[in-house]
Every structure is written in C-alpha cells, then in structure tokens.
C-alpha cells in the first residue's frame, strides 16, 4: 500500500512500524498554553496527537484551533471531528480549514450525546453519520469534490481514521461494523480502551478471518487506570466499556498510594501482550488528564524511541 497523504502517521504505519498516538483534550477556556503544555510532555513519545472534539459534549476550545497550535509547534495532529454539532456544510468547511494548515489526519466520530454535557437542552445535528463522514473526506481527498459535486481547488490530503469499539453491543455486528467502515474508506482505526484482552483478541481473530487487518491499520486503545475507584466507575458506569473483575480486584488489592503505579503497570503489560497480536498496527494511549505518564508507558512498553522519518 503506497502512501496517499503526507501524513507522518500514515508513513509510519505503511513502513510497518508499530505506531503510537495519544490524545489531548482542549481546555474549557481560550488559553493555548494548556494544549502546548500537554503536547510538550508527550511530543517525543508519540507519532501523532489526537485533539478531541468537545468530548463528553462539554463545550471546549475547538479541535481545529487546538490542532493548529500543535501544527505551529511542528507536531502531527489528528483532528477529531464529531457529526453531532455541525452539518455537512460546516464539516466540509472545517476540513478545508484544517487542510489549509496542512493537517493531515482526521478521525471521524459521531460524538457523545449532548445530554451528557453542559448543553443538554441544545439540538444535535447528525446531518451525516460517522460512516458518511469517512466517505465525505475520502470523496474530498480522492476525487477532489464537494458533496455537492463541485470541484475543490487544492483538495485536502488527509489520512482518514475512525473509532471502533470491540466491546459494545450488539455483539453480532462488531466485526461487520468495522467491515462497513472499511467499505466506507477508513484507513486507520483507534479502538475503545481495552481491558478485556481475551475478548479483544477474539475480535481481532474475527477481523483477521475476514482479512480486514490487511485493509485497515488497527491501533489498540489503552487508558491507564488511576485507581480502583476509576476501574469500578469505568466498569459500571461507562456504556460500552468492558473491565474484567480481575482488573478491578488487582487494583483494589493494591494499597491506595500504589494504585496509580499498578494502573500504569497493567497498561504496559497490556501493550506488551497486544504487540504480539497479528493485525495490531500500533497503540493509541489515552491518558485522560494524565498526559505526563505517557512517556513512561511508551518507554517501558519498549516503544521508544519513535521512528524518525
């Protein structure tokens, strides 16, 4: 597979390296230093940095502006874009805006429902869905056309990603859902946080059975647990999250002051095990408001130094 964009993430994946990405949540304010500081902590340990798009439907600094801050630092951003807040005009427009700053990666998502955020009385848009956003970006890039059919002068050059949750319901369409995203034109996947490794490996087996791992790069998603309380919360409260009892028990059996360290250890062990899984092309480390731990995880998981291109 030859490269289709100038994306560094794409290059690393196509060259067969295990890629490492991470993410930064923009601030609930306009101070760009927040983004810069987070990025500074992790920049030498990851190949690209996702910027979330009003995650959990809480109003924040926009993903696009935050990505521009990263770009101005010489870093490689992944623009997350949810279909919740903008119609097809606004999304195509933002894609062009991002492309004008040579942002080369996009992650197409539907977004958390607004009832979870700070504007539960607002409308959601969902003019198109995440699957159709993938198609939209591919149309704009590959055919140089708007959805309306007109030609785009200087089309965007973006490596197109999406999310996948191997643990959500309905179970019988977990693999077909990924196949559908591949058919829509997705090129890389960042998965939901993986704690149930057995179930993830079973999903990967089914992905391989259909040959999908040869059509899309799959980055295994990992979030280190800070405490037994967080593990319980993720297990019981977060829809689509599969946290096995032994993870909760392992953290609960650890003295409180050592739980964070144990959480990091679990994360590193998971990466080491998943490195051996055929079809896993890299890792997406989501250390939520805990970005300072990313270097340690990357180092100890044997993923440092990052390839220089």
């Amino acid at each position: 597979m030859s490269e289709k964009t100038p994306s560094k993430l794409e290059k690393i994946l196509r060259q067969g390296h295990l890629a490492v990405t991470s993410e930064c949540g923009p601030p609930r304010g306009s101070d760009p230093e927040v983004i810069r500081e987070k990025a500074e902590m992790i920049k030498d340990y990851v190949d690209a940095i996702n910027i979330t798009d009003n995650q959990t439907a809480m109003t924040r600094m926009c993903s696009l502006a935050s990505c521009i801050h990263l770009k101005l630092m010489g870093l490689e951003p992944v623009l997350q874009m949810v279909t919740r807040d903008r119609n097809r005009i606004a999304m195509q427009s933002d894609i062009l805006g991002a492309a004008s700053f040579d942002i080369y990666n996009i992650l197409c998502l539907s977004g958390d429902h607004q009832s979870f955020g700070d504007c539960p009385t607002g409308q959601n848009v969902h003019d198109i869905d995440s699957m159709q956003l993938i198609q939209t970006v591919r149309l704009m890039r590959d055919e140089g056309k708007f959805l309306g059919g007109d030609e785009i002068a200087r089309p965007p050059r973006m490596f197109v990603g999406a999310a996948a949750n191997p643990f959500a319901d309905p179970f019988e369409i977990r693999v077909p859902r990924l196949a559908k995203k591949v058919a829509a034109g997705v090129e890389f996947i960042q998965t939901q946080c993986i704690y149930n490794l057995d179930r993830f490996e079973e999903w990967m087996k089914r992905i391989r059975d259909r040959g999908l791992h040869e059509k899309v790069f799959i980055l295994a998603g990992l979030t280190p647990m800070k405490s037994a309380g967080m593990a319980r919360y993720m297990k019981n409260r977060v829809p689509g999250m599969d946290v096995p009892d032994e993870i909760v028990k392992r953290l609960s059996d650890t003295p409180k002051e050592k739980q964070a360290e144990e959480g990091i250890k679990i994360c590193i062990e998971s990466i080491q095990r998943l490195k051996e899984v055929e079809g896993v092309s890299g890792f997406h480390i989501m250390a939520i408001e805990w970005e300072e731990k990313v270097p340690e995880i990357v180092r100890q998981a044997g993923l440092y130094p990052r390839p220089s291109l």
Binding site: G111, H126, D129, Q132, D169
Partner: protein
Amino acid sequence: MIVGEQKPLEEIWEMVKPYKKVLVFGCNTCVAVCHSGGNKEAEILASLLRIKAKQEQVEMEIKNSGIERQCEHEFYEPVTEELNWADLVLSTACGVGVQFTAEKLATTPVFPALNTTFMGAVDAPGVFTERCQGCGQCILAITGGICPVSRCAKRLLNGPCGGSSNGKCEINKDVDCAWQLIVDRLAALGRLDDYEKLTPIKDWSNERSGGPRKMVREDLQQ
C-alpha cells in the same frame, strides 16, 4: 397518531386568566386516543379552570366544546356560534389544530393547552412511544422496519454508536437502542448481511430543513 401532553394547569392558567369568555375546545381524534385533548378532556379541563378561577377570585365564563378534528374544515360549521362567543379559545388539539382554528378566527386569540410531543403508537394502555418524525424519505425497508431517524438519539443511519449497552441507549436505560432492535430484526428476517450495505447520505430537504412542506393531490382538488 399525533401524541400530545397537557401543559401544567399553572401554565394554562397564566395564559387564560386575563380573559373573560374562554372556550376550551377539544379535538376528538389523535389527542383523544392519548387522553390529552379529546372532547372529554376539554370538558375536564374547563371544570378545572372554573375551580381555579373561583379560587383565584377571577371573574370569567368558561365553556367547553369540541369537534372531531380541528385540522379539517368540514367539522367546524356546527361550532361557529361557540367560537364567535369566546374572547379566548383554548384549544386542546395538537399544534396543527391550534393553528387551523386560529386561521378561522381573525381577531380572537387561540392558545395551546397541550404540548404536541410526537407521532407515535399506543405501546400499552397509558404508554405512548415515538415511531416516526415524518422525514419525508422513508427508509424502513432497509432498516428492518425500525426507524433510526425517530428512535436513535443520534439518528444514525449506518449502525449503533459505541453507547449501545445491553440493548439500551446510552442516554437512558429505559430507551431501547434502535440499532439493537434493527440488528435483531434483520437477523430474524435472515437479512443480517444487509447491515453491511452503506446507507447513503440522507436528503433532509424532505424534512423540516427544506421549509414547510406541502402535498397537492390534483385528482382530489375541487
């Protein structure tokens, strides 16, 4: 049918209290089925308002009336006199009926006693649930007869979001995940493979986005 829910009495009272001759005007079709705005409910609401007026020591006359459907001209004739008597008509119809009645009364205000909530079905006695948003481009044939536009909180056309859990929607454990229902139904129909067909980007110009809609049947015009 169209489902509506009566507004809180306090809110209705605030609307009607400046008026002297109030007609509570029922609509005996859709909103009668959901026991919110039929002619019987109009009668009950009129009684409640009379009590309220008495309690608040406000002088007003409150009558009630009703017709079969406030959304069709042909039913209005028998109530012309009552409508002309009122200095306020409090309609218990859906939003369609309220506006249609107002169009007949150039100088009398017509206020809504209901919040029109959705187009739905009677799931069980006293339980009404949404089934359709009138998007103007029905896709039920490809979604196993279950509508993701009206029943998925994100109106996703190509499958569930990551928040589907044990058959329920992430926004509320009492809400079924439409895509779980669709997948189950496609499986029961032996059509699960159809799930992988991409649903094209929807033409929303047939729904609200395209402006007020109109249908003309020339063969029925007189």
